[in-house]
């Protein structure tokens, strides 16, 4: 029967952090064993025989299990940190590539206008200025994505979820997207009854905007993009679909991890939008974990 106390000590040590509760548990167990199972029964009596041994065994059990528990927990933390570190590394690589190309174009166009502006006609200057504007807007979007990442990483303790209307988030994502690409056709479909979903609205909006961007750019300007929201028991499903060029099955495994290899045809900076989808993935993972 004293084994019950040993079991209790093991369980306490396993389920708590650090050594304090484990050792406390073993002390309580020693007193308990002493009270119940040693002579005189149901009285505390500290006879020297056997008692030090019980105490040492209990203590040893609790310290060992505490040590093991702590080790396991540390290992879990290390794995988590490594995964996060890997994700961050991938994102950084994607970001620095995605940033460098538009910057090159901006710096180049600006110096062309400054240095050889006299040799250019006004149409050429306008075209260069237009490029600068487009590329700068593209950079803005990248920065928004980076901000989402920092927001998420800071939110380790407080991912701010609130009950939001699905239609509002989808609607404002569509508005942002339409502002960017006025000629794109986006149809939005939401359930007839209002659907409240707990989420961090800003991050989910970012996911939707990235998916729309991606559908438009990589679908090679599809004639139709749809966002569908459907309510199912226990979940709300957000679907972004396009009827564009489709995705090469070969890239599917790497689609979301930011490690998509550059292809020969990726001469245009906007066709290598790798950061967008990896941000989608990190946000979705983070949201599911919370």
């Amino acid at each position: 029967m004293p084994l019950v106390f040993v079991l209790a000590v093991v369980v306490i040590s396993r389920l708590t952090d650090g050594y304090f509760y484990g050792i406390l548990g073993s002390v309580v167990a020693v007193v308990g064993v002493n009270y119940v199972f040693t002579y005189p029964y149901f009285r505390l009596g500290f006879t020297p025989t056997g008692y030090p041994l019980t105490f040492v065994i209990m203590l040893a059990v609790s310290v060992l299990v505490c040590a093991l528990t702590t080790q396991i927990k540390q290992q879990e933390q290390v794995t988590l940190d490594m995964e996060r570190e890997k994700m961050r590394g991938n994102l950084l690589r994607a970001v620095s590539h995605d940033i460098r190309t538009p910057l090159t174009s901006i710096v180049g166009s600006a110096s062309a206008i400054l240095e050889s502006g006299d040799a250019l006609d006004s149409g050429q200057i306008r075209a260069l200025l237009k490029d600068i504007q487009t590329e700068a807007q593209w950079l803005t979007r990248i920065v928004e994505n980076i901000l989402s990442i920092t927001r998420m990483n800071n939110a380790d303790t407080e991912l701010q979820t609130s009950e939001e209307l699905a239609e509002e988030i989808v609607g404002s994502a569509a508005v942002k997207f339409r502002k960017r690409y006025p000629d794109a056709a986006v149809a939005v479909q939401v359930p007839a009854e209002a659907l409240l979903v707990p989420m961090d609205p800003v991050l989910i909006e970012q996911v939707l905007v990235n998916l729309l961007d991606n559908a438009y750019i990589h679908g090679k300007k599809p004639s139709q993009i749809r966002i569908d929201v459907t309510a199912r028991p226990g979940e709300a499903r957000f679907c972004v679909e396009d009827n564009g060029a489709g995705i090469d099955p070969g890239v599917l495994p790497h689609l979301f991890d930011g490690t998509l290899p550059l292809k020969e045809s990726d001469s245009d900076s906007r066709s290598s939008m790798r950061i967008g989808l990896s941000v989608c993935m990190s946000i979705s993972r983070r949201t599911t974990a919370a």
């Binding site: 609130s162 009950e163 209307l165 509002e168 609607g171 569509a174 939005v188 939401v190 209002a194």
Partner: protein, 237 residues
């Protein structure tokens, strides 16, 4: 002689100050500039600008405290411009009495539209210039009749409930401005109301179903995600 609106630009970055000065002058505004909070406050008291464009990140003090100080004695339109993108900062600035909030980077058409909207609302509010609306507010096919407590879409009564009408009326009175969730909740359900957004969301969902063709693609009441709602007034971007 034409009277030009005087705009004070409070911004510590000289290239942005230059940009705004150029754009505003080209659009027929008189421009003053200040690069610190102290300078801004002294210019506001001495020159009475018609509108202040205030950057929140100033070298000598937080832009928010400039906003608070000015609000103790003046209701002049203040447009907050900031590189801070967290919704909390937007909400704080709006709740402290900023008329509008633009996040950097912004386009010049957007800046000009916001300036026009802020000036127009200020004049409506203070009664300077004639109020074109009286007891009505009209945007697109939406018409708010304040006297009868009714909202009409295409001439048909939308059948809003009391609280729904009060929300729409409040947004209509401040059309073109983002009204934070909290200030709507305070106004409609009183200061003791829970800061729970849910009841507001549900009301908004019902309103949109009554006045919008597609609630996910609203024409009249737009959502500023994480901040609040805004009634479109035809000029805001």
């Amino acid at each position: 002689m034409e009277v030009r609106d005087r705009v004070l630009v409070v911004e510590d970055d000289s290239s942005i100050t230059n940009l705004m000065k150029t754009v505003l002058r080209a659009n027929n505004y008189e421009v003053l500039t200040a690069s610190t909070g102290a300078e801004a406050i002294s210019l506001i008291t001495s020159h009475c600008p018609d509108l202040v464009i205030l950057d929140l990140g100033l070298p000598d003090m937080d832009g928010v405290s400039v906003l608070q100080q000015v609000r103790t004695w003046s209701a002049m339109p203040i447009l907050v411009v900031s590189a801070r993108t967290h919704e909390r900062d937007k909400v704080e600035a709006l709740d402290l009495g900023a008329d509008d909030y633009i996040a950097k980077p912004f386009g010049t058409p957007e800046l000009l539209a916001r300036i026009r909207a802020a000036l127009r609302h200020y004049r409506l509010r203070t009664g300077a210039g004639s109020s074109p609306q009286g007891d009505f507010f009209q945007t697109g096919a939406l018409r708010i009749d304040y006297a009868r407590h009714r909202v009409y879409v295409d001439g048909r009564d939308a059948g809003l409930t009391q609280n729904e009408f009060r929300i729409v009326a409040m947004l209509g009175r401040h059309a073109g401005r983002v009204i934070t969730y909290d200030s709507i909740i305070r106004e409609i359900w009183g200061p003791g109301a829970q800061r729970d957004n849910k009841i507001l969301r549900v009301n908004m969902a019902n309103i949109r179903r009554k006045i919008e063709k597609n609630p996910a693609q609203p024409e009249y009441i737009c959502t500023e995600t994480g901040v609040g709602y805004l009634m479109a007034d035809g000029d805001s971007l």
